[in-house]
C-alpha cells in the first residue's frame, strides 16, 4: 500500500528538510506556493505556514507614493539594503495613508504593513492616536544624529517617550505652470490666484485627494492666514471657483506628472519634487511657491507589529548620508539631514524648497492644532464641493 501523506505531514517534512539545509529557502517558498495552490481553500493551514515562512526570512513591507519616488527608494535604498542584509523589502504604492488605515482597520491587524512613507505631523498624530505606533530604539539608528532637530521636534512633542518614525524628507506644494502657455511674469503677479484664471478654463488641475491642501489654497485665495482660518465659507467659495475651471483632479503624483507632461493641463498646484522631476525630463514646466505656500515633511513611520530590529536597520541604512542624498537626488525632495552637519552636493542644494540653514524657518507648515479639529466636517465639505456641491 502506498503511503499517502496528508498536507500537514507534507509541510512538516518539508520544513524539517529546510531546517536540515536539504532544501534552500527559495525552493521551500516555491514548494509552499504550489502546495498552497493544491491546498486550495484550506486557509488555516496556509496562514500558519505563511507565518512560519515569514519568520524564517525577514520581509519588510513598505508603502509609499509610487512613480519616481518609489523608483528612487528602490534603486538607492532597498536594493542595496537587500544586497547587504539578505532581508527583503516589498514595496507598494498607496494613494494616501487613509487607504492604509482603512485596510488595517478592516483586517483588524497590521499584517503586511511595516513602514509607511508617511506625510507629516497630522498623520503621525493619527497613527499614534489609533494605537498603531511603536517605540524606536534610536541606539540602533545612529544616523539619526545627522537629522535636523527642526524636523524631529514636532514628532517628539506628540510622543515624548519615543519616536515611531524617522523624518526623511520635506518639500512644498506650490504651483506648477506650463511656460509655453503661462509667462513667468503672469505667474509671479497672480500667485495663488493663477489657479483661478478664467482664461485657462479646462486647462487647470488640482489635487483631489486632500481636503487640507485645497483649503490651504482657498485660504490664500481668500486672503486668510492658512493656519488661522476664520471664514470657511470663503475658503470653499474659492474652491468652487477653482472647480468650475478644473479639467481633472489628480489623485497621485504619477497622474500629476502625466497631466502636465502631456499638456492636458497648464496650471495646477503641485508637489515640488514631481515638478523638479518633470524639469529634469525636459518638460517646459516651471514651479513657484506663492507667499505662505504649503510646506510639509515626510517620515518613515514604523507600524506596530513590525520586526523592530530589521526595521531599525533599514531606517538607519536609509538615513546614511550616501543613501539619503542619492534618494533625494532621485525623488527630488531634500533629505532630512542637517546641511550644516552633512555636506550636500549641488544637485540637492538646487532642489526646490531646500533650506541650507537646517532650521526650516522660511517654510510654513500645517499646524496640526489648527487643522485636525476641522478635519471631520471640512473634509466632508471638500468631497461635496469637489463633486459640484
Amino acid at each position: 500500500m502506498t503511503k499517502k501523506y496528508d498536507s500537514v505531514t507534507r509541510y512538516a517534512r518539508l520544513r524539517e528538510a529546510v531546517g536540515n539545509g536539504d532544501v534552500d529557502r527559495r525552493t521551500f517558498v516555491g514548494l509552499l506556493g504550489s502546495a498552497g495552490l493544491t491546498a486550495g481553500l484550506s486557509g488555516g493551514i496556509m496562514s500558519t505556514m505563511a507565518t512560519q515562512a515569514r519568520a524564517m526570512g525577514t520581509e519588510l513591507h513598505f508603502e509609499g507614493w509610487g512613480g519616481v519616488v518609489s523608483e528612487a527608494l528602490r534603486k538607492n535604498a532597498f536594493d542595496p539594503y537587500e544586497a547587504a542584509t539578505g532581508n527583503k523589502v516589498i514595496d507598494a504604492t498607496f494613494g494616501g495613508e487613509n487607504e492604509v488605515l482603512t485596510k488595517v482597520k478592516a483586517a483588524g491587524n497590521t499584517d503586511g504593513h511595516n513602514i509607511l512613507h508617511s506625510s507629516g505631523i497630522t498623520w503621525y498624530k493619527r497613527w499614534v492616536d489609533n494605537g498603531y505606533h511603536v517605540q524606536l530604539n534610536l541606539d540602533n539608528i545612529p544616523n539619526m544624529a545627522n537629522v535636523m532637530e527642526a524636523m524631529i521636534e514636532p514628532f517628539r512633542k506628540i510622543t515624548p517617550d519615543g519616536l515611531s518614525a524617522v523624518p526623511y524628507d520635506y518639500g512644498t506644494t506650490g504651483i506648477a505652470y506650463n511656460t509655453e502657455h503661462v509667462s513667468h511674469e503672469k505667474a509671479k503677479e497672480m500667485g495663488a490666484n493663477l489657479l483661478l484664471d478664467p482664461s485657462l478654463k479646462g486647462k487647470i488641475g488640482g489635487w483631489g485627494g486632500d481636503w487640507a491642501n485645497r483649503a490651504w489654497y482657498g485660504a490664500l485665495q481668500s486672503g486668510q492666514d492658512p493656519n488661522n482660518i476664520q471664514d470657511w465659507d470663503a475658503v470653499w467659495d474659492k474652491a468652487r471657483e477653482h472647480r468650475d475651471l478644473v479639467l481633472k483632479y489628480w489623485s497621485s503624483g504619477a497622474e500629476l506628472m502625466d497631466l502636465l507632461a502631456k499638456g492636458e493641463i497648464y496650471v495646477t498646484e503641485a508637489w515640488s519634487g514631481r515638478v523638479a522631476a518633470l524639469q529634469a525630463q525636459g518638460h517646459p514646466i516651471a514651479y513657484m511657491d506663492p507667499p505662505n505656500g504649503l510646506a510639509w515633511m515626510e517620515t518613515m513611520f514604523v507600524m506596530k507589529g513590525s520586526p523592530m530590529e530589521e526595521a531599525e536597520a533599514l531606517l538607519n541604512f536609509m538615513l546614511d548620508p550616501e543613501t539619503a542624498i542619492a534618494v533625494a537626488v532621485g525623488q527630488k525632495y531634500p533629505p532630512s539631514l542637517d546641511p550644516t552637519k552633512v555636506d550636500m552636493p549641488a544637485e540637492v542644494a538646487n532642489l526646490p524648497a531646500f533650506d541650507p540653514t537646517g532650521k526650516l524657518e522660511g517654510l510654513v507648515f500645517r499646524d496640526p492644532a489648527a487643522w485636525n479639529p476641522h478635519e471631520k466636517e471640512q473634509g466632508k465639505q471638500w468631497n461635496r464641493v469637489q463633486k459640484g456641491g
Binding site: G208, G263, G379
Partner: protein, 301 residues
C-alpha cells in the same frame, strides 16, 4: 402481505420526507456560500450603518438613524442616485444596441471557426480592468492616438475636449461591459431554431419582418439578462469615472469610496453601501418579476 402493507404504510411518509430534503441538500453548498459570503457580511454592513462616527476612523456602536436620515434628507445623495441611474440607463441602452449586432453575427455566421470569434470576445478579460480603462487616456488624450491621427492627416489638433468628460466615462463603461451583453445575447440567439426565420420567410415575411417578429422576440431573454448585468455593473462602479471622468462625473459608488476611504466614516459608508444594494437589488427584483411574467405569458401562448 400484511408485512408489505405495513412496510408500505411506514415507507410512504419516509419517502415524502426524503423527497422534501433532496432539493435542500443540492442547494446547500450554494446556500452556505451565499450565507457566508453575502448575507453575513451584508448583515454586518447593515449593523454598522446604525453606528455613530465620532471622529475620523473613530466609530461608536449605537442604534441610531442619523446616517439613514442624512441619506434621505440630503440632496447631495439624491443627485448621486439620479446620476447613477441615468448613466446606467445610457450605458445599458448603448451596450444593447452595440452588442446585439456582433452577437447576431457570431450566432448566425457559417464561418467554420466560430470558436475564434468567441475567443476574441473573451480576449479583453485577459487584460486587467484598470489597464483597459487607462488605455483610453492614450487614445482620447491630448497626445493620444486620435489627436496623433488628426495631426498626421494634416487636420490639426482636435478642437473638442474628449478626455475627462462624461463621454469618455461612457466609452470606458461600454468597453468593459460590452462582452457581458454580447455573450448573453449570443447564447439566446444560438438557442433559436434556425428553421424559424426561413419558415417566416416562406409565409411571406420580409427579412426585416422575420427578424423583428421572430428572432428579436425570441432573443429577448438574453437581451434582458445582458441588460440587467450591464445595468447593475455600471450602477455599482466607481473606478471608471475616477480615472476617465472630470470633477462632475461621479456615481453613487464614488460617495461610498469617499465616506469609507477619505472621510474614514465607516457608518456612513455602510449606510451608502446598503442603500446601493437596495437600489440595485430592486432593479433585479423588478427584472425577475417582469421576465417571470413574460415567461408565463409565453407558456400560455
Amino acid at each position: 402481505m400484511q408485512c408489505f402493507s405495513q412496510q408500505g404504510g411506514f415507507l410512504l411518509p419516509d419517502q415524502s420526507h426524503s423527497i422534501d430534503r433532496r432539493p435542500w441538500l443540492l442547494l446547500s453548498p450554494a446556500l452556505v456560500f451565499i450565507t457566508v459570503l453575502v448575507v453575513i457580511p451584508m448583515a454586518f454592513i447593515l449593523v454598522y450603518s446604525f453606528y455613530e462616527n465620532i471622529d475620523l476612523a473613530v466609530d461608536v456602536p449605537a442604534f441610531q438613524f442619523g446616517n439613514w436620515m442624512e441619506l434621505l434628507t440630503d440632496g447631495y445623495y439624491h443627485t448621486a442616485i439620479w446620476k447613477t441611474l441615468r448613466l446606467s440607463v445610457i450605458v445599458t441602452v448603448l451596450a444593447a444596441v452595440l452588442g446585439y449586432i456582433p452577437a447576431y453575427v457570431i450566432a448566425m455566421t457559417r464561418y467554420r471557426h466560430k470558436w475564434l470569434l468567441l475567443l476574441l470576445l473573451i480576449l479583453p478579460f485577459w487584460i486587467s480592468f484598470i489597464i483597459r480603462t487607462l488605455s483610453w487616456i492614450h487614445i482620447f488624450g491630448n497626445q493620444g492616438a486620435l489627436n496623433g491621427l488628426m495631426n498626421l492627416l494634416g487636420l490639426g489638433d482636435l478642437q473638442v475636449q474628449l478626455m475627462y468628460t462624461e463621454f469618455t466615462v461612457i466609452v470606458g463603461f461600454i468597453h468593459v461591459f460590452l462582452p457581458y451583453m454580447i455573450l448573453n445575447v449570443y447564447v439566446s440567439l444560438e438557442g433559436i431554431d434556425r428553421n424559424l426565420e426561413p419558415a417566416a420567410r416562406t409565409l411571406g415575411a420580409t427579412p426585416w419582418q422575420a427578424f423583428r417578429e421572430v428572432t428579436l422576440p425570441l432573443s429577448l431573454p438574453g437581451l434582458a439578462a445582458g441588460s440587467l448585468l450591464v445595468f447593475v455593473l455600471t450602477g455599482g462602479s466607481y473606478v471608471t469615472p475616477l480615472i476617465l471622468g472630470g470633477p462632475s462625473d461621479f456615481l453613487f459608488g464614488n460617495l461610498v469610496y469617499d465616506a469609507v476611504v477619505t472621510e474614514l466614516n465607516w457608518p456612513m459608508g455602510a449606510t451608502l453601501s446598503f442603500a446601493l444594494l437596495i437600489l440595485l437589488g430592486s432593479v433585479v427584483i423588478l427584472y425577475s418579476r417582469l421576465m417571470g411574467m413574460n415567461q408565463l405569458a409565453k407558456a400560455f401562448g
